[in-house]
C-alpha cells in the first residue's frame, strides 16, 4: 500500500528525468544526489561502496530512476532516519533543552538512543517516524510508551510521565495499566552501581478520538516546557500550537523597547494600582475596554490564543479526563477568519489537522529539513507539494524520500549573501559601550543596538539610517570614532548589515 502511494506520487510527473538533467551544469551528478540524499535522510551517513556500485550498474542499464526511487526509500525506512526526525521534532517543539539532560550528566547514567529514550515525548516522536505513521498523529495520536523508574530515582527528578498521566490510569480505558506505585528497588547488594538505570516501558493505548488526548501535546514534557499559571490561562500552550502546527510566528504585539512595553502593560496594569492576585484576576475578567485583553493591538493575538487556551483549562499540572470546550479561531492564509467551536483538546487537534494552513506549514518544514532553505519554495510549488503530501497520507518517510527526488534537491547549494546579526552583534557592542542610553538633541535615548536590533522593527530604521550616514562621513563626526583600530572586514560587515537592514525595513512602496 505504501509502495503504491509512493509510486502514484511519482506518477504525478513533477519529478523530471534524473538522467536527462544530470548532465546540466547546475545539477548534481547522480552520485552526488545519492550522497546528498543519504546524508539528509540518514543523519550524514554516506552511501556504501555497494550503493555506488549498484548506482553505476543502474546507470549502465538505464535503470537510474527506478534505482534511485528504491534506494532513497530504503534510506528513509532506516533507523537513522527516525533518529534524525526525532531530533528535528524536538527542535521544532523547542523542547531540546539541557534541562532534560542534566541528570544524565551528573549521575553519569548512560542514556540510551532515541528509540529507547526515557521520556514519553521522545519515544512518541521516534515511533511516529520509525513506523511511518501519519504526520497528523503528532496531534491526534492516542498511544504512548511511558517509562516507569525506580522510586528513588524518580523522587529528585520532579514530576514524572506516570505522574502526569495518573488520572487517566484510574479509569477503564487503557489497554494496559501502569503501576503508579513504581517498580520496587532491587536489594542494594544485588545492584550493580555501574549498571544504567533503565526504566520499565509500559505501552498505554487509548481508543482513537479519546477526547482528552492530543498526541505529543498531551505529554508531560510539552506541559513542562510550556508552563502555565493562573494569569496566563494556557495562552503559552496555545501559542505553541499556533507556532508548531500552523507556522504562525506569534510575534508579541508589544513592541520591543522598554518604553513601549511599559506603555502597553500599563493599559492592563496601571502603575498607580496596588494589586493583589485576586485584583488582577478580577481585572482580567472585567469587560473594561481599557484592559489589555481588549486593546486592539493586544487583541490581535488574544482573539486566537484565548479560545485555544481554554481547551487546556481542565488540565493543570497533570492531564485530566475532564473536557474544556474552546474554539479554533484565527485568520487563515487567505485572510478568512476560521471560527470552529471545539469540545475539547482532541477535537481541537483534529480541527487543526483539517486546515490547509496546517498542511502547508508541515510541507514547508519538510522542505527546510530535506531540500534546504537555500532553495526558495514559491506558492505554486508549495501547492503542488501539499497535494502530494495529502496523496501520501502525510507519511513522513515517503514524503521525505519524495523530496530527495525532486529537481530542486538536485540543484547545487546556493549561498545566501546576507550578513547574519550574530556577525555584527559583537561590533555593535562596541558602539553601545559609548552610546547606549545617551540622549539626542530631541531627547530620545539611543537604544542598545546589540540587544534591540536582534529583532528589527520599523522604528529602528531612522537609527540605522543615522548609523549609515555617520559611517560614511569623512569628517570628525565619522563613526566609529576609533575606526583605525577596527578591522576592515568588520567595518564592511557592519556597513553591509546596516544597508541590508535598511532595505529590509523599507516601506513596501519603496521596495
Amino acid at each position: 500500500m505504501r509502495f503504491r502511494t509512493w509510486a502514484l506520487s511519482l506518477s504525478i510527473g513533477l519529478v523530471l528525468s534524473q538522467t536527462s538533467l544530470a548532465t546540466a551544469a547546475e545539477f548534481l551528478s547522480p552520485h552526488g544526489v545519492l550522497e546528498k540524499a543519504s546524508r539528509r535522510l540518514r543523519q550524514n551517513q554516506l552511501p556504501s561502496a555497494a550503493d555506488y556500485a549498484e548506482l553505476e550498474t543502474a546507470i549502465a542499464v538505464g535503470n537510474l530512476d527506478a534505482f534511485m526511487d528504491q534506494k532513497v526509500l530504503s534510506y528513509a525506512r532506516s533507523d537513522r532516519f527516525a533518529h534524525g526526525m526525532t531530533f528535528r521534532l524536538l527542535e521544532d517543539f523547542e523542547v531540546l533543552t539541557s534541562g532534560n539532560l542534566g541528570r544524565n550528566v551528573w549521575s553519569r547514567q548512560p542514556v540510551p538512543p532515541y528509540g529507547e529514550r526515557e521520556d514519553t515525548l521522545t519515544r512518541f516522536f521516534f515511533k511516529l517516524a520509525k513506523e511511518n505513521q501519519s504526520w497528523d498523529r503528532l496531534l491526534t495520536g492516542t498511544s504512548y510508551e511511558v517509562p516507569i523508574y525506580e522510586t528513588a530515582l524518580v523522587r529528585f527528578q520532579g514530576r514524572t510521565d506516570p505522574d502526569f498521566l495518573r488520572e487517566l490510569l484510574d479509569g477503564p480505558n487503557p489497554s494496559s495499566q501502569l503501576d503508579p506505585v513504581f517498580v520496587p528497588r532491587a536489594p542494594r547488594h544485588s545492584r550493580n552501581l555501574q549498571e544504567p538505570a533503565r526504566p520499565e516501558i509500559k505501552l498505554l493505548t487509548f481508543p482513537e478520538r479519546t477526547p482528552f488526548l492530543a498526541g505529543a501535546v498531551t505529554t508531560n514534557r510539552f506541559f513542562e516546557r510550556y508552563t502555565n499559571v493562573a494569569l496566563n490561562k494556557n495562552r503559552r500552550r496555545a501559542a505553541a500550537l499556533f507556532k508548531i502546527f500552523l507556522c504562525d510566528p506569534m510575534v508579541p504585539a508589544i513592541e520591543n523597547g522598554l518604553d513601549k512595553k511599559h506603555e502597553y502593560l500599563a493599559r492592563a496594569f496601571p502603575k498607580e494600582w496596588s494589586l493583589s492576585i485576586q485584583d488582577i484576576r478580577t481585572r482580567l475578567k472585567s469587560t473594561d475596554a481599557e484592559i489589555h485583553g481588549h486593546d486592539a493591538q493586544c487583541f490581535s493575538c488574544h482573539y486566537k490564543l484565548d479560545p485555544v487556551g481554554q481547551t487546556f483549562q481542565a488540565s493543570g499540572l497533570n492531564l485530566s479526563r475532564s473536557l474544556s470546550p474552546g474554539a479554533l479561531i484565527y485568520k487563515n492564509a487567505l485572510g478568512n477568519k476560521v471560527d470552529l467551536p471545539v469540545s475539547g483538546i482532541n477535537d481541537l487537534a483534529h480541527r487543526i489537522t483539517e486546515q490547509d494552513d496546517y498542511v502547508a506549514c508541515q510541507v514547508r518544514k519538510f522542505w527546510r529539513w530535506f531540500v534546504g532553505t537555500d532553495i526558495p519554495l514559491d506558492d505554486s510549488r508549495l501547492q503542488q507539494l501539499v497535494r502530494i503530501f495529502n496523496h501520501m497520507n502525510h507519511q513522513p518517510q515517503d514524503f521525505a524520500a519524495y523530496l530527495t527526488r525532486t529537481e530542486e534537491f538536485r540543484t547545487f547549494p546556493r549561498k545566501i549573501d546576507r550578513i547574519d546579526f550574530s556577525t555584527v552583534r559583537p561590533h555593535l557592542n562596541r558602539c553601545d559601550s559609548c552610546h547606549h542610553g545617551v540622549k539626542t538633541k530631541s531627547g530620545d535615548a539611543l537604544p542598545q543596538f546589540a540587544m534591540s536590533f536582534a529583532q528589527l522593527q520599523t522604528d529602528h530604521r531612522p537609527w540605522l539610517l543615522k548609523m549609515q550616514e555617520r559611517m560614511n562621513r569623512t569628517d570628525f563626526r565619522r563613526m566609529p570614532m576609533d575606526w583605525q583600530s577596527w578591522r576592515e572586514d568588520d567595518l564592511t560587515s557592519v556597513r553591509l548589515w546596516v544597508q541590508q537592514s535598511i532595505n529590509d525595513l523599507a516601506p513596501e512602496v519603496a521596495k
Binding site: 551544469a25 548534481l28 551528478s29 547522480p30 552520485h31 552526488g32 544526489v33 545519492l34 550522497e35 546528498k36 546524508r39 539528509r40 543523519q43 550524514n44 551517513q45 554516506l46 555506488y52 537513522r80 531530533f87 527542535e91 517543539f93 523547542e94 523542547v95 531540546l96 533543552t97 539541557s98 534541562g99 532534560n100 539532560l101 544524565n104 550528566v105 553519569r108 548512560p110 542514556v111 540510551p112 538512543p113 532515541y114 544504567p196 516546557r225 527546510r368 534546504g372 532553505t373 537555500d374 547545487f412 547549494p413 546556493r414 549561498k415 545566501i416 547574519d420 550574530s422
Partner: protein
C-alpha cells in the same frame, strides 16, 4: 557493528545528542550528535576506542556545552547561533583523537597479522593498488609497521605516486568517490581537492612536537611506520575539509 551502540559509546554519544543544535542556515553545520555519528561512521574503530570514552570529545561538560550548541532552557533555542572558535578547537581535538586511535588500532591489528599478510582492516583503508610497483611498495611499508624507526617526515620515504594513491583512497572513503566530488559544483573537482589535501599533508610537520604545537593531542606516537603516519595525517587533513562535515 559489535561496538556500535555499546553502553560505553552510549554515555558520551547520547549525552551529546540530547540537547544541542545550531541555527539553521543555507548550509548547516551538523549538530554535535551528527558530528559524532560522522566520526563513528568514518572512524569506526578509533572513535569507540576505550581511551575516548570519557574525554571531552565524548562527554558534555560545563566547559564545552555552550559552544557545542546547547539550547536555552527558557525557549529551546541555541545559545550560540554558529560554531565558534571553541567549537573548532573541540572539533579538531576530537577528530585528532579519533584519527589517532583509528590508526593505532590499524597498527595493532597489523602487528598481530600473520607474517607476510596484510590485515583486513588495513586493507579497508588501503586496498591493494592495481599497479604492481605501487602494490609492492605499499606492502613493503605496511610490513615494516612497528619495526621502522619513526622518520622526521614519513612523506620522504613514500614515493609521490603512493602518496597520491593514499590521498585518493582516504578522500574516497571519508568524503566520496570521484563522481560525487566532481558532481558537487562547477567550481569544485576531485582532482582539485586531492591536490589541496596532498599539499597540506606534505606540508605538515610529522614530528610529535609539530602536532602538539597545532593543538592536536593525537596518538600518532604509536604510528611509528611511515605509511601509517602518512595515513593518519591524510585522515586528519581530509577531516578538516568542509566537504567532510557539511552536506
Amino acid at each position: 557493528m559489535r561496538l556500535r551502540f555499546s553502553p560505553a559509546f552510549a554515555v558520551g554519544f547520547a549525552i551529546l545528542l540530547t540537547g544541542f543544535s545550531f541555527t539553521e542556515r543555507w548550509m548547516r553545520y551538523p549538530r554535535p550528535d551528527e558530528i559524532l555519528m560522522i566520526f563513528q561512521d568514518r572512524f569506526p574503530d578509533g572513535f569507540i576506542h576505550p581511551a575516548m570514552e570519557m574525554n571531552s570529545c565524548r562527554q558534555l561538560t560545563t566547559d564545552n556545552r555552550s559552544f557545542l550548541g546547547d539550547n536555552r532552557p527558557a525557549d529551546g533555542k541555541p545559545i550560540v547561533a554558529e560554531p565558534n572558535l571553541h567549537f573548532a578547537k573541540w572539533y579538531a581535538s576530537c577528530l585528532a583523537d579519533a584519527v589517532g586511535n583509528e590508526v593505532a588500532f590499524l597498527i595493532r591489528r597489523q602487528s598481530q597479522a600473520q607474517a607476510g599478510s596484510v590485515d583486513s582492516k588495513v586493507l579497508e583503508w588501503l586496498p591493494a593498488p592495481t599497479e604492481p610497483s605501487l602494490r609492492e611498495e605499499m606492502r613493503d611499508l605496511i610490513h615494516k609497521a612497528g619495526t621502522q624507526q619513526k622518520p622526521a617526515n614519513p612523506a620522504v620515504s613514500i614515493s609521490p605516486e603512493l602518496r597520491i594513491y593514499i590521498v585518493t583512497q582516504v578522500v574516497a572513503r571519508l568524503i566520496g568517490p570521484d563522481p560525487v566530488l566532481n558532481g558537487k559544483g562547477p567550481l569544485f573537482s576531485a582532482q582539485q581537492l586531492r591536490q589541496q589535501v596532498l599539499a597540506s599533508v606534505d606540508a605538515l610537520d610529522f614530528s610529535e612536537a609539530g602536532f602538539q604545537s597545532m593543538g592536536f593531542k593525537t596518538r600518532l606516537q604509536h604510528s611509528e611506520s611511515s605509511i601509517f603516519g602518512y595515513l593518519a595525517a591524510t585522515m586528519l587533513v581530509v577531516g578538516l575539509q568542509d566537504e567532510f562535515l557539511m552536506q
